[in-house]
C-alpha cells in the first residue's frame, strides 16, 4: 500500500545525520530495499527518513591485513563485481550471490541489511559466522560491536536509535581455510527457508579446527551452532563426522512454523544443508 506520511532529510554530513536521528522517531535509509517494503506494509511508520545518499565515503571495499572492510553503503552488486573477494573471503562472495534479485542488488547495501536484521538474510549470517566487527557511530561517539552482541532477535539489533553503521569488518581469511555455503529458497533470490554458512581450518594432523557454523532462516536471528562446531573440531572431516555435525546442528535449532514452511521442515533443512555445506568444504 502507499506509505504513511513521512518527513525526509538527506544531510551532507554524518554529524547532521546523527542529530536528525536523535530528534524524533527516525530511520536511516541507505539503499532502502528492506525499509521501503516494511514501510509499504506499514510495519514501520517512522516520522523521519534520514537518507545517507549525500554523506561521502562508506562505499569502499578495503582488503588489508585485518580482513575485508565493507563500507556500510557497499551494495551487493559492488561485492559481486569485486574479483578480489573470491580469495579474500570466498564465503562472503558465495553468500552474496544468493541475496535478493537483480534490481534490488543494484541498490541494497551491507549496512542496511545488517541494521534490518531479517533472520533469513545472508549478510548477517556471514557476519555471525565470521565473527564480524560492526562499526557504528552515534551521539555518544563511535563504537565497535561484535556480531554475537549485535543481532538480538528478528529485526532487532543492539544499535541505538541515533546510531549509524559505518563499516562491517570480516576478520582476515587464512589461505587453506575450508568453507561451504548452502541456502534453500523456493527461487534464487527469495528469502531463505533455511541456510548454513560454515568454515573450518585444518590442524597439523588434517583434522578440523576453529569450526564456525552459522544458521539463518531457521531461528529468530543468525547465530552459530556450538554443538555442530564441537562435533567437527579435532576430528578428520569424514562423511561420519559431517553426519554427526549435521545431526547436532538440527538438534540445536527450534524453527518456528509459518506460512512458508513448518518448523520440522526447516529443522530437516538445517541438517541437510549443514551436511552439504561441510561436504563442499571437505572437497
Amino acid at each position: 500500500m502507499k506509505l504513511a506520511p513521512i518527513r525526509y532529510a538527506a544531510p551532507a554530513t554524518m554529524d547532521e545525520a546523527i542529530a536528525l536521528l536523535g530528534s524524533c522517531d527516525a530511520k536511516v535509509m541507505s539503499g532502502g530495499q528492506s525499509l521501503m517494503p516494511i514501510m509499504a506494509f506499514r510495519l514501520a511508520t517512522p516520522e523521519l527518513i534520514v537518507d545517507l545518499k549525500k554523506i561521502p565515503g562508506l562505499d569502499q571495499i578495503v582488503i588489508d591485513d585485518q580482513g575485508v572492510r565493507l563500507g556500510a553503503k557497499v551494495r551487493w552488486c559492488d561485492i559481486e563485481s569485486d574479483g578480489r573477494l573470491a580469495q579474500a573471503n570466498p564465503l562472503l562472495a558465495e553468500a552474496i550471490k544468493h541475496v535478493a534479485h537483480y534490481q534490488i542488488r543494484n541498490r541494497g547495501t551491507v549496512g542496511g541489511s545488517v541494521a534490518h536484521a531479517d533472520p533469513a538474510s545472508e549478510m548477517p549470517a556471514i557476519a555471525a559466522c565470521c565473527e564480524a566487527v560492526i562499526s557504528v557511530i552515534g551521539s555518544k561517539g563511535a563504537r565497535k560491536i561484535k556480531a554475537v552482541d549485535f543481532f538480538i532477535s528478528a529485526l532487532q539489533t543492539s544499535l541505538e536509535a541515533d546510531e549509524v553503521i559505518t563499516e562491517v569488518l570480516l576478520p582476515a581469511w587464512p589461505a587453506g581455510r575450508r568453507w561451504g555455503f548452502q541456502e534453500f529458497a523456493r527461487r534464487r533470490g527469495d528469502f531463505a527457508l533455511a541456510g548454513i554458512a560454515a568454515f573450518y581450518d585444518l590442524d597439523g594432523q588434517g583434522c578440523a579446527a576453529n569450526a564456525h557454523i552459522a544458521v539463518f532462516g531457521a531461528s529468530d536471528r543468525q547465530h552459530r551452532l556450538p554443538g555442530a562446531e564441537a562435533a567437527l573440531n579435532g576430528r578428520p572431516v569424514t562423511p561420519e563426522t559431517i553426519a554427526a555435525a549435521a545431526s547436532a546442528a538440527s538438534a540445536e535449532v527450534d524453527p518456528p512454523s509459518d506460512i512458508h514452511a513448518p518448523g520440522e521442515y526447516r529443522r530437516a533443512l538445517v541438517e541437510t544443508l549443514t551436511e552439504r555445506a561441510l561436504a563442499h568444504a571437505a572437497k
Binding site: A4, P5, Y8, A10, A12, I49, H101, Q103, I104, G189
Partner: protein, 163 residues
C-alpha cells in the same frame, strides 16, 4: 539540513529535465505515473516483489516502488517509454513481438527495462543468467519461455558476439 514533508525535485527522465512537487512519502513509481504522466511504469505489488515497476536509475535497473521520489532528485531515470521511438520497434521490442513474449502485457514494462539494463551491461548473458535476472520479474500469464527466448534473441542488437 531541514527535514521536509514535501519537496520540489528536479531530475532527468528519458533524457529530459523534469521537476515535480512531491510528498516525501511518494514512491518514484507513483511520481513517474501521476506527476510526470508516464504510465508505462506499472505498479504491481508495491513492495518490491513483482518487478513490474522496474526503471533504470543512473544506468542500473531499480524497482521504482522501492525508491522514494525524493531519492531521485538529481538522478537520471529511464522508463519503458524511453526505450521506444516513434519510427519503428526497437530490436528488443521486435524480439518480444517475434517470440510472443507477452500476453496481458502488465509485466512487460518491467521485463523490457530489466532486459535492456542486463543486455546493456552484459550483451553476452547466457540463458542461465537471463533466467536468473528475470526471476525478479513476475509474469502471471506464465510466459517465461518466450520472454527468455526474446531476450536471448535480442542480444545481437546489444553487441553480443554470439555463442
Amino acid at each position: 539540513m531541514i527535514a521536509v514533508t514535501t519537496m520540489k525535485i528536479e531530475f532527468e527522465v528519458n533524457g529530459k529535465a523534469v521537476s515535480a512537487d512531491v510528498e516525501a512519502r511518494t514512491t518514484l513509481a507513483d511520481c513517474l505515473r501521476y506527476d510526470i504522466g508516464l504510465t508505462g511504469t506499472h505498479v504491481g505489488c508495491e513492495h518490491g516483489v513483482c518487478g513490474a515497476c522496474t526503471v533504470i536509475v543512473n544506468g542500473a535497473a531499480a524497482r521504482s516502488c522501492l525508491m522514494l521520489a525524493v531519492q531521485a532528485d538529481g538522478e537520471k531515470v529511464t522508463t519503458v517509454e524511453g526505450l521506444s521511438n516513434d519510427e519503428a520497434l526497437t530490436p528488443l521490442q521486435a524480439s518480444f513481438r517475434k517470440h510472443h513474449a507477452l500476453q496481458c502485457g502488465f509485466c512487460t514494462p518491467g521485463m523490457i527495462t530489466t532486459a535492456h539494463a542486463l543486455l546493456t551491461h552484459e550483451p553476452n548473458a547466457d540463458e542461465e543468467r537471463v533466467r536468473d535476472v528475470l526471476s525478479g520479474n513476475l509474469c502471471r500469464c506464465t510466459g517465461y519461455i518466450s520472454i527468455v527466448e526474446a531476450v536471448l534473441d535480442a542480444r545481437v542488437a546489444y553487441g553480443s558476439k554470439g555463442e
